[in-house]
Amino acid sequence: MAKNVRPRVKAPRSAEAGEVVVIKTLISHKMESGQRKDSDGNIIPRSIIHRFVCDFNGENVIDVKMEPAISTNPYFEFEATIPESGDFQFTWHDDDGSVYEETKTVKVG
């Protein structure tokens, strides 16, 4: 597991039924591209988060396939429809097999 990986998500606590809300996510990760070399000229192996998924009550909002060209500390901003009260599940999949998760609850009404 990569060190110091901390997911952060900005989502509203409440919404109207059917409202479209903006979600912002940021996860601290070095996103080693596999292109860089260390001081001895050896290539530093690739180590990135390769997939990000956001679901709401089990239904998919967005599913992103990420490549090494995504910057350090990957940031995503997107929109989601809130049909009813429930939970957002955010999942990041690391190259090393680690999975980072975050949950946010949204109340309708």
Binding site: E59, V61, D63, K65, M66, A69, Y75, F76, E77, A80
Partner: protein, 139 residues
């Protein structure tokens, strides 16, 4: 062996063509990826929006935004990076808008390409040139 003027011209033209070959080879990597994404279908223009700065001072973190109304998926490519793929966004049933923002790495001044797959199975693309002052691939 004596060359006629005509033969010399032909050899010269062939040498010039050979010298320019690496450039189309690089571009075709992007084209191959687009073909893989579309399955060889024709790619139209319009309907997909790509927002990126005209000049990015730091290629390590270039903010971009893609959107395409009614898109199932949007693929982003950086044609001038050592590895052109950047990200593929797939929108689920609860996507509020077919829009996403992120930050990407660009190795140098180049074209960023966005290809969208629409719900009806058609494809559309757009591209934008971004000038990069400091490259973002550790070079």
């Amino acid at each position: 062996m004596n060359f006629t003027r005509r033969e010399t011209m032909v050899i010269g033209a062939a040498a010039a063509a050979a010298a320019t070959l690496p450039m189309p080879a690089l571009a075709s990597k992007t084209e191959d990826l687009i073909a893989e994404f579309t399955g060889g279908a024709e790619v139209g223009e319009g309907g997909v929006m790509l927002d990126a700065p005209e000049i990015a001072e730091n290629g390590n973190t270039v903010p971009i935004e893609v959107s395409a109304e009614g898109a199932e998926a949007i693929m982003v490519l950086a044609a001038g990076n050592p590895e052109p793929p950047v990200a593929t966004f797939r929108f689920g049933p609860l996507a509020g808008a077919h829009r996403a923002k992120t930050r990407i790495r660009l190795a140098g001044t180049q074209d960023v390409v966005a290809v969208a797959r629409m719900a009806d199975g058609s494809f559309t693309k757009t591209s934008k040139t971004v000038k990069v002052t400091i490259g973002g691939c550790g070079g």
